[in-house]
Subunit: 352 residues, 2 copies
């Protein structure tokens, strides 16, 4: 069966209406609102076709139709129009733009907060992974006799730090020495290149009596491994989901909150989205998500960039009945805004 122009129009109307009302849409409603000059009976026939083709579903016989995941997918790919920003959106963004932020953590919070307020969904932001960059700085700062702060900076401007307790028996007077050594030996290496060979080289360079420090070197290389893998997830507007009838059911809501509670599963769900084209917004609708718990939710993510390179992800989570065009537009705006803030942070005074 062919998906002709008329069917597309009807499908489009149904999805648009359903997105804004959350009520199954009946044929009479379409006949009245879609301005097709057709009777409800004709539309009924078309709707039956669309259902047969898999774009629509019927919750029960005497209800109207709702879009299936396939329906949403087609809508997102082919039908959905551009989103016209409301005055409220514009005001919100404009007032955000006026704020000058000079603290990195505040940038993150501001941006995820803004995205959740714009979209009314739950927004997230994932900090960059470190693995790609080359080490620019590695530094150990003594905190007390047993613990140090390890600071790692890559040439991409990504910084991570971690407070750790050193293995027993390390005299704190060696810390500066170790720090300098690490810096010298590891600078320029990509994080995923650091292997046994490089570590051994450091060990050798420690010279006589250096063996005492071997455990520290081992230890630090493990921590670097850890740091490399870690990313942080910031959530904002978690309670927004309660605004949607989809989550008025307490068990659905519980499931969702449980999912968000576990940052690991969130990271996993988000990183599953393929990176084919990292400039494009990635949309996963319902069952397109691998995780069980996401089968009734959609995920819209974008990679944000810095110096031409994708460094982290930003996006929103919500019900499959989502205002995709608005969300896509908002994420575009916000990721640009984020990139602008980051540019300022990283390159503003630089000749780079």
């Amino acid at each position: 069966m062919e998906l002709n122009e008329r069917k597309r129009k009807i499908l489009n109307t149904i999805i648009n209406e359903y997105i804004s009302t959350a009520e199954p849409i009946g044929s009479r409603h379409i006949a009245k609102h879609a301005d097709l000059g057709l009777s409800s009976a004709t539309i009924r026939n078309e709707m039956a076709d669309l259902e047969e083709m898999g774009y629509l579903e019927q919750p029960h016989t005497s209800a109207g139709r709702i879009p299936s995941d396939k329906g949403y997918r087609f809508y997102v790919n082919e039908l959905m129009g551009g989103y016209e920003a409301t005055q409220q959106d514009i005001d919100l963004l404009a007032s955000a733009m006026t704020v000058k932020i000079n603290q990195f953590d505040k940038v993150i919070k501001q941006v995820s907060m803004l995205l959740s307020r714009l979209t009314n969904y739950t927004a997230f932001l994932i900090t960059p992974e470190m693995k790609h960059g080359a080490i620019k700085t590695i530094e150990l700062i003594p905190i007390d006799n047993s613990s140090v702060l390890i600071v790692l900076v890559t040439n991409e401007g990504i910084m991570r730090n971690k407070r750790v307790v050193l293995p027993q028996g390390v005299d704190s007077e060696y810390i500066p020495k170790i720090s300098a050594m690490l810096k010298e030996k590891l600078s320029g290496f990509s994080l995923d290149e650091i292997g046994v060979k490089e570590i051994n080289e450091i060990k050798n360079a420690l010279g006589e009596n250096g063996e005492l420090l071997f455990p520290v070197i081992e230890f630090i290389s493990e921590i670097i491994d850890d740091i490399q893998k870690e990313t942080e997830v910031y959530l904002s507007g978690v309670s927004n989901i309660f605004n949607f009838p989809e989550y008025r059911d307490i068990d659905r809501a519980k499931e969702f909150i449980e999912f968000l509670d576990d940052k690991n599963s969130v990271t996993k769900a988000i990183s599953n989205s393929q990176e084919d084209d990292d400039r494009v917004i990635n949309i996963k609708i319902g069952k397109e998500n691998d995780m069980d718990i996401m089968q009734n939710s959609s995920l819209v993510t974008a990679n944000y960039h810095l110096g031409g390179r994708s460094v982290g992800k930003i996006g929103i989570i919500g019900p499959t009945r989502m205002n995709y065009s608005k969300v896509v537009a908002n994420i575009n705006q916000i990721s640009k805004y984020l990139e602008k803030l980051l540019e300022e942070m990283y390159f503003d005074n630089n000749g780079e």
Copy 2:
């Protein structure tokens, strides 16, 4: 009216039963289970008295009684017995004890996670405020030409760091100089002591051409101010609240999640608990909380200590119908466990 032994026993039984069943407790139930050798009619009279005295409430005429906030308060102060750890509790703690943690952030996560798993409520942990300690280290680490990492360590072992963008026009080659200067001039000062005087001293010490750096000094002193005030809140087990019938109502649940969503309000609610005796567990029941949104919830907090000094807070949030004795016992265990982990972190290899 006197709160005699019999009334106390009845009240105690009602509260214990209500805590475990969440159902209003009737006189017949007490007659059967409390082993008082009294008929339900007598108990009925006593319950009417207890209600008159304000310890009990009746949801409606034909229901049993439930404890009022005053009832819980009396229970917590006078009636509640010690909690006997279950095998499950013991196993959970024991397995946690075997894990050796050497990363500070993991300690925090582990502890709050453990507390929420033990209690089945939502647990939180607030990191120490910095204001009391004296500055031991202050260091600026260049990240790129425009941003630096500011690291602050107090003599109490509390560390905070923040990545910031420096004001325009600061050449990065001055960073080490500024860093050394700050360290020299500010070491030993308590954070809340740093005022205009100290800042001016640094400015003067910059010598000729130092004026160019004045904005940076000003800027950094503002950031220090910020750092001083900030604490972080870690939540764990947010979805636990869905296990309680109190929050089966979607609007109550929404309210609760909204509250937790806003870290500021959480911090505020928690820091409101007075610090009269910082060794004692602080319990705020229902209306004893200042915040509107907490009127139907209870907050149990403890200060955790390091080197004899209270440094942060740990605790749980849940419905007023809470298993107080279990929660108190668990928080005690966990704050000891946390202190042990922190001791290891801070003082293990030290002569301190």
